[in-house]
Symmetry: C2
Subunit: 106 residues, 2 copies
């Protein structure tokens, strides 16, 4: 997975930090499907994800409205409920305004 | 690693996304030392980190001033330079205002 290519700030980030339950239970399929759906949402800018004990997924968005629409997307709502029922023992969602960014590349 | 226990928003997040070079070259020792130092900085609130191909480290801070002071911390400045010389092929730093958060726990 590359570093997300986001436009100049300001834009928004959703930091989703999670701890998984034991067992696969269809998690990978759901996760891939959610990426596929998010990519198609209006205002989607990119995402980055890694799990190493804790899982961190950061998705980037043009506006708070885009984030609200993604949260309310029908199939995503089912996944959120199944996440609480089945896949996650805990998670935290943080909605952020990205104010400044800078980077480095060899 | 647990999910960071942060106070109610507003607070700040620094999302550091990186790609590593080949080879260890003292990376783990530096990384542990930077966590130890960050924890001692004024205004430090917590951090979360995972690497799976891409590395994502999110640190949380009380204020932009706390973030500036951490960026300018002497030993951290050396690590930043060594990071560009040795450990990272690319990175991106995003400075964010966390506006809202919510969570779930079994």
């Amino acid at each position: 997975m590359p570093i997300a290519q986001t436009p100049p700030p300001p834009y928004y980030a959703v930091i989703f930090t999670s701890l998984r339950t034991e067992g696969e239970n269809g998690y990978a399929a759901m996760s891939n499907r959610m990426v596929e759906l998010a990519t198609q949402q209006p205002g989607y800018l990119g995402y980055e994800s890694a799990r190493e004990g804790v899982g961190i997924t950061v998705s980037y968005w043009e506006s708070l409205e885009a984030i609200r629409d993604w949260k309310a997307q029908t199939e995503h709502l089912f996944a959120q409920q199944a996440g609480r029922d089945r896949w996650y023992s805990a998670y935290k969602v943080r909605i952020c305004l990205v104010d400044r960014d800078y980077g480095f590349e060899v």
